[in-house]
């Protein structure tokens, strides 16, 4: 049980990071990546299954939000900002 939920958590974490990388906007992208990492790091040692379930549901909702907002961002793309490295 612990193994599967750990795998669950990791797969959710990876999906969140993958989706966040797709944000066209520099600021949103960096924020999403940073926030996801910090949130997972912060809740690293949560053991209580109810609290865990709550957090995982929140993570799944965030994943859906990020996916939708990435699409919206792609619809209205604009130029890169000055600090972004040039696309290869």
């Amino acid at each position: 049980m612990a193994a599967s939920s750990r795998a669950q958590v990791l797969s959710l974490y990876r999906s969140l990071l993958k989706e966040s990388r797709a944000f066209p906007s520099y600021n949103y992208r960096t924020y999403a990546l940073r926030r996801v990492r910090d949130a997972f790091r912060e809740n690293r040692s949560v053991k209580d299954p109810q609290a865990l379930e709550l957090l995982l549901n929140k993570a799944r909702d965030s994943l859906a939000i990020i996916q939708r907002q990435v699409s919206v961002g792609r619809m209205y793309e604009t130029q890169r900002t000055v600090v972004e490295p040039e696309p290869k």
Partner: protein
């Protein structure tokens, strides 16, 4: 001694020079006739298609919407479009549910009751409503209003209108660190004072006023206390009962919410009566008639809830970035002054004055960073900001002030880039400045007698 990239970036900001020409001959701005360049400079101020967007460092002017806020708003822009005041069908009911949920979210952020929140079109309307509304309601017996000299333009303008209606308004001065003198406030309050209005966090210099103490003073003297908390809500913890505030203005677009919406907290116990500014169908308890814009209210609510969850994280990050920026700049270049109290402040609003450099020229040189000198509402005029004048900065330092805004979405790269650019440009401008030359030779500028021609 300017590097090639700096030259290119500088010349790139001159319009009318095409991209390829820019890349091929970086040293030839004079090839285009000056008149043509001038005309094109005036014509289009928008970014060209392949031009890079500047960094956004002006979070006090407005903030980008958080994607989570937009996500909460979109259903109400697309499908759930009912009028929340329609009582007879599902469209109205679902809209009303959303509006009430948003009201609760806003109330929770400031520790109020949902019945005490009124949705408005922004902090300007909230300020107008509270100042004019309270003053006019109690005008039979109370004719005095107190505010400070560093308030937002809408507060000062509302007070000016009240003056023309026959009220007495005292504009209290501030100390050189931007805070008001509490003893002076106690002395200024008269038996016929109805309202004291002091903003929580100043939008130009970032100082945090001692709201709790002012609230206690006002409570003891039976005077209503209004605070414009547009820049403070969601960034520092606020509890209206602890701070003893009777009226509070909230702005949506300062806390990563939509533009065009705000809220006003109107205390119910003890009851604050307001003469409504906008008449109509009696919505929002008769205080602000008009259909509440559900998508905007939902956005404001979502933004407030997010702010409550993220406050600690954001505050730690913003403080870290602010210290980074200020340290970098102050260690590299001398004669930089931070305006406003160094401790009693919100870290995300940094106002620096660079001596011997003109503010507008520095802003134009920092073309890749979106900054402002002074607030957005005074940036059209060339006069130095009245806030800086109120804290007693010298005229020359007031002209050379820049406001850096740091927010939730700012990255370390942006801060480093801004700091480096700033240092570079200040050095360059100072090289060109005759005043700087004189200072280097040891002449005291204050002792010079500038001759009149």
């Amino acid at each position: 001694m300017m590097s090639r990239s700096v030259t290119r970036k500088l010349l790139g900001s001159i319009r009318g020079v095409s991209t390829s020409a820019r890349l091929n001959c970086p040293g030839a701005p004079a090839s285009a006739p000056a008149a043509q360049r001038g005309r094109e400079l005036i014509k289009s101020r928008e970014l060209e298609k392949d031009e890079l967007r500047p960094l956004y460092m002006d979070f006090q002017a407005t903030t980008p919407m958080d994607p989570r806020v937009l996500d909460a708003m979109l259903p109400y822009q697309v499908n759930y479009y009912g009028n929340p005041h329609s009582r007879t069908h599902a469209y109205g009911w679902e809209s009303e549910t959303a509006m009430e949920k948003a009201r609760k979210q806003v109330a929770d952020l400031i520790g109020a009751d949902p019945r005490e929140i009124v949705f408005t079109s922004g902090a300007t309307e909230s300020n107008n409503m509270s100042i004019k509304g309270v003053a006019r309601f109690y005008k039979a017996r109370k004719k005095h209003v107190i505010t400070t000299q560093t308030e937002h333009k809408c507060v000062l303008d509302s007070c000016r209108v009240l003056e023309s209606e026959g009220f007495d308004v005292t504009y209290m001065p501030v100390k050189s660190n931007g805070l008001i003198d509490l003893q002076q406030l106690v002395e200024t309050i008269r038996p016929d004072t109805s309202l004291v209005s002091v903003m929580t966090v100043n939008n130009e210099i970032g100082v945090k006023q001692p709201i709790k103490e002012i609230g206690t003073i006002c409570r003891s003297k039976n005077v209503f206390f209004h605070t414009d908390a547009a820049q403070a809500v969601g960034k520092i913890p606020i509890n209206v009962s602890e701070l003893k505030v009777d009226l509070m203005s909230i702005s949506g677009h300062k806390i990563y919410g939509p533009k065009g919406v705000g809220a006003l907290f109107v205390r119910r116990r003890p009851r604050v009566r307001i003469e409504p500014l906008q008449s109509g169908g009696g919505q929002e308890r008769g205080l602000r008639s008009g259909t509440v814009p559900t998508p905007l209210a939902v956005g404001l609510g979502a933004a407030c809830e997010l702010a409550q969850q993220e406050m600690e994280y954001d505050h730690a990050r913003v403080s870290m970035l602010a210290t980074r920026l200020v340290q970098k700049i102050m260690t590299e270049i001398p004669d930089v002054v931070m305006n406003g109290d160094p401790d009693q402040r919100y870290p995300g609003c940094i106002n620096l004055s660079f001596a011997y450099v003109e503010g507008e020229s520095l802003l134009m040189a920092l073309k890749d960073v979106a900054l402002s000198s002074g607030s957005a509402c005074t940036s059209a005029s060339l006069e130095p900001s009245y806030v800086l004048r109120a804290i007693g900065t010298d005229e020359d330092l007031a002209h050379s002030s820049i406001r850096f805004g740091i927010g939730r979405f700012t990255t370390e790269e942006e801060v480093d880039y801004t700091a480096e650019k700033c240092i570079q440009q200040v050095r360059r401008l100072r090289e060109m400045s005759p005043l700087w030359e004189m200072v280097q030779e040891g002449i005291d500028l204050k002792s010079i007698k500038w001759t009149q021609h």
